[in-house]
Every structure is written in structure tokens, then in C-alpha cells.
Symmetry: C2
Subunit: 112 residues, 2 copies
DNA sequence: CATACTCGAAACCAAATGGTTACACAAGTC
DNA sequence: GACTTGTGTAACCATTTGGTTTCGAGTATG
């Protein structure tokens, strides 16, 4: 595995997104996480490796168990990206508002 | 090509993210987009195909040219996902604020 | 009509991805 | 010390991905 530490690549996989959501409420061990999925434990372990590599998740060893913690701050990288588009879709909303306002006026005229 | 219409998959590729940013200011033809990248035109064409399939981009044929338009609303799907984490990182900020506030108080006491 | 241009589609290829089974290793438990 | 348990790692495999070159279809332009 290449261990590409790219957040966008990391969240591209639906299983990894599910893991992140799982960890958003509580830290869990690798085994506990794997129990929530159909795929084998090593498969989940690999996903955790990828998530750890890109720092979306951190490890904490307690005895022989390894707890995985979510690092939500890292998600800001994605947020920064879509932020560049948020204004655009808000603009469109505003344009739609204008159109609706015009339609309303027109309808009002029609009624008269 | 599988034509998977998954927005997360679509923005996983850096070239595709660059294309989306390019189109955020203006609609462009396939050739004009390809001119901005090192890879060949067909490669870019494939990326556009993927972006079109998941509706991040729309096509408009004018004569023999095809203009690609950004559809920023589709990015909301990603926004909805990270929204679930935004509260978490904001929580952490608040906790940090509390810690800093306590430290400030403690320091004030020390001065006395 | 012939020619040039823009572009998508097909065929093909190397590399990356996601999965499995098998194994190794440290930490508790008897 | 022997045994079980929780994990990570290695080796391997099928599929997907991103790229290329080649071809064909449609649209101006002479």
C-alpha cells in the first residue's frame, strides 16, 4: 500500500467514511471497528492505516488494545476546498431569489 | 471506465479538483481545459466525463465546441458529510478557549 | 465536395486500490 | 512458561484507475 496521505483520497472510500462517522461519537479499538463491517479485520486495519497516515485518525495504545481517535480538524482541508464553491452556490440561490421576486411582481401585475 | 457517479470519488483526483477550480470562474471548452494540463486531451476528456457523470459539471454544445459548466450545488453532498464533523472541531476550539481562559486566570493570580 | 478542427469513444497498458489468507508479535491469563 | 487475545504486516489476487495512441463522427471553412 502506498500510504498516500491525501485527505481527499482517504474520504473517497465509503468504508473509510463510515469508519470516520463511527469514530465521531467515541474512540474504538480496531477490532470493535471491524465488527461493524462485512469485510475482514485486516481490510479494516488497512483503512485505519490510511486514515492514520493522513492524520484523520490517531492511535492510542492501551495494553494490547489500540484505540482510534477521530481528528476532525484535518477535515478542514476538505472544507477549505469546497469553501471556494460555497459562494458560487449561494450566488445561485440569490439569483433564484431575484427570479422569484420578479415572478411575484409579474404575477401581481397580472392580477391587476 | 465504470462511470461511477460518486462525488467523493470525483474530487479524489487532484487533476479533477483543478478542473473544477478552473471552471469556477468561467465555462470552458474541452480543448481549453486540456491546454491547462500536461496530460493529453483524451485524458482530460475522461476526467470531464467522470465529472459530468456525477453532475459536478454540465455540457453545452455550441457549434463544434463543447463548453463545460460548473454545477457547484452538487458539492453540497460533500458539505453535508463534513458538516457532521464541523461541530466536533468547533467543540475543540471552545474547549481550547476554556483552557486558555483558565491559564489566563492562573497567570493573573501568579502576578498578584 | 474536400479539408481542417473539435471532440468523444475504443483499445490497450501500467500502476494503484481494496480485498483475502496466512503469519508474526506483543500483552495479558492460566 | 504455555495459551489466548488483539493487532499489524506480508504475500498474493482481481478490479479499478489514469494514462496513452488511434479512430470516427460531427461541424465549420475553402
Amino acid at each position: 500500500m502506498d500510504l498516500r496521505r491525501d485527505v481527499f483520497q482517504a474520504i473517497a472510500d465509503p468504508t473509510r467514511r463510515a469508519i470516520l462517522l463511527l469514530l465521531s461519537t467515541q474512540a474504538l479499538t480496531a477490532g470493535a471497528i471491524a465488527a461493524n463491517f462485512d469485510s475482514s479485520r485486516p481490510a479494516v486495519s488497512k483503512h485505519l492505516q490510511i486514515l492514520t497516515a493522513c492524520e484523520l485518525v490517531s492511535q492510542e495504545q492501551i495494553g494490547r488494545e489500540v484505540y482510534y481517535h477521530l481528528q476532525p480538524e484535518k477535515m478542514k482541508e476538505v472544507d477549505d476546498f469546497i469553501e471556494q464553491f460555497r459562494q458560487h452556490w449561494e450566488e445561485r440561490f440569490n439569483q433564484l431569489d431575484k427570479v422569484l421576486a420578479v415572478m411575484k411582481r409579474e404575477r401581481g401585475k397580472g392580477k391587476k
